[in-house]
């Protein structure tokens, strides 16, 4: 069964970046988010970071850290689980 947090993150990526022609479930767990099949670049990454910080109450301090966090959906889920208030990720 799919991890509810990765499913939530895929939904959030599609919503935030208005990727209207992409089904959230079609985003692979372990492919690079930036520079991968979604054709996202560093400017998209910044928009994602702003949204993720708001959504999960985390702080992604540097662009270096953002790059690590956005390495893939799976990496992002792990990053968020490590840092955020568990109440914000009830799954």
């Amino acid at each position: 069964m799919a991890d509810p947090l990765t499913a939530r993150l895929k939904q959030l990526i599609v919503e935030t970046l208005h990727l209207e022609d992409i089904a959230p479930a079609s985003i692979p767990d372990d492919e690079p988010l930036i520079g991968g099949g979604l054709s996202l670049d560093s400017i998209d990454a910044l928009e994602l970071v702003v949204r993720l910080e708001k959504e999960f109450g985390i702080k992604i301090e540097s662009s270096e850290e953002a790059r690590r966090a956005l390495a893939s959906v799976a990496a992002l889920a792990a990053y968020i689980r490590e840092r955020c208030d568990p109440a914000k990720v009830p799954f």
């Binding site: 970046l17 208005h18 560093s42 400017i43 910044l46 702003v50 301090e61």
Partner: protein
């Protein structure tokens, strides 16, 4: 040799293509609507000259949409301001009207780009608020290029790969007239053989309401009553947005590719008031001199002018100054060419207004009509001796004088000649 206009494109409150703009001008259909800025029904400003068919109210580009038929790639649109989207659509129309493809401009060292806009107050506010919210550590990397007053030139130069001249003008409501004037000079001097002139503005709370705090905006709630240039009851301008693009070429460049001249830009002139920050000289001293200089540059006299496209924005002071200036140049010589103030229909599009009037002149030539002043009730006393028709005047004008004035007392005038009257 004077340049000729070979293409025009419109995104305006009165239409988003040549045919609908011409119909609105001819039939006196205005583009002013009720608006509620900042969700505040108590604001005194109730109307604006709105652009239809675009959704660009959000500061987030991902929320925007524009009419079908214009492809604007993601990496382009996210560097644009809302008025930059208007500008791209206007340029696409102008190029197609001129029989040019974007690839004809790319890398051509003889094509220049001349832009006018006040920037995007909305995006600047939004971006800086985001930056401040994180105490400066982060900001939109495209915040500068999408919002400051050079935003059109930065983005359009990159989009169309302009390699001749790229420049922008910031003389307030005379800006796009300056853009056209200096483009004309560069063509006359042989520096270029083709120029794109584009002006664009947004009609939103951030761009317009600050003018209300200068008491420059009309507080009329009736869209038909708010913008009444030269009327005794006028109480300020109606803010408006949009974009207009013109393609001008040297006559030989136009002839080489078989393009049809739509008008000749026969001359231009400018002069300043040396008076106040924002208010015109009470007798229009700078505007009078600018008109005289434009006529002299075009090698014509006041009696050669068949129609005047007035700057008149519906402010008490500005319209009065223009009326008196026109009276000194024309009425004082017993001349009464019809005068039309198209801002009665469009509202005042600020830096865009000069090139918008220029493009309207092109439509007057091709459609053989002269727009009147459909919202004029009783002309103000200072309009004594001026011919201000309410309705459209039929017939083809041979030569049109088009005026514009901006803050700081900038005044810029152009003389346009109908294609069948060039060099006669």
């Amino acid at each position: 040799m004077n340049p000729v206009v070979t293409g025009a494109g419109f995104v305006t409150p009165i239409g988003n293509d040549r045919a609908s703009v011409e119909r609105s001008l001819r039939e006196g259909l205005h583009g002013i609507e009720r608006v509620e800025f900042l969700g505040n029904p108590d604001l005194p400003v109730k109307v604006a000259g709105t652009v239809k068919g675009f959704q660009v109210e959000s500061p987030r580009w991902r929320d925007w949409s524009w009419p079908a038929g214009y492809e604007i790639p993601k990496d382009v649109v996210r560097g644009l301001a809302p008025h930059g989207v208007y500008a791209v659509c206007a340029i696409e129309q102008a190029l197609s009207h001129a029989g040019l493809r974007p690839s004809d401009l790319a890398g051509d060292p003889h094509t220049g780009l001349y832009c006018a806009s006040a920037g995007s107050a909305m995006l600047m506010h939004y971006n800086l608020a985001q930056m401040r919210a994180v105490r400066g550590v982060r900001g939109n990397p495209l915040g500068v290029v999408s919002s400051i007053s050079g935003t059109l030139n930065f983005n359009l130069a990159a989009l169309y790969k302009i390699t001749g001249t790229v420049c922008g003008f910031v003389s307030a409501c005379a800006s796009s007239s300056h853009a056209l004037g200096y483009a004309v000079d560069d063509l006359r001097l042989g520096r270029l053989n083709r120029a794109i002139i584009v002006g664009a503005e947004e009609a939103n709370a951030d761009s317009l309401l600050p003018f209300a705090h200068m008491r420059a905006l009309s507080i009329q709630a009736d869209p038909r009553m708010a913008s009444r240039p030269f009327d005794v009851g006028r109480d300020g301008f109606v803010g408006a947005g949009g974009a207009v693009a013109l393609v001008i070429e040297t006559p030989s460049a136009a002839a080489r590719r078989g393009a049809t001249p739509l008008a000749e830009v026969a001359g231009w002139g400018q002069a300043a008031d040396g008076h106040r920050v924002a208010a015109s000289h009470p007798e229009g001293a700078g505007l009078r001199l600018a008109m005289e200089r434009a006529l002299a540059d075009a090698k014509v006299g006041p009696s050669d002018i068949d129609y005047i496209s007035a700057h008149a924005t519906s402010t008490p002071v500005g319209d009065s100054a223009e009326a008196l200036a026109i009276a000194q140049v024309f009425a004082a010589r017993g001349l009464r060419p019809p005068i039309g103030a198209t801002k009665g229909l469009t509202g005042h599009t600020l830096s865009l207004s000069g090139v918008m009037q220029a493009a309207f002149c092109v439509l007057s030539f091709s459609g053989r009509f002269m727009p009147g002043n459909p919202h004029l009730g009783v002309a103000a006393p200072e309009c004594e001796g001026l011919e201000l028709p309410r309705g459209t005047v039929g017939g083809a004008p041979g030569r049109i004088l088009s005026n514009s004035s901006g803050f700081g007392g900038s005044n810029v005038c152009h003389v346009f000649v109908a294609p069948d009257r060039i060099a006669d």
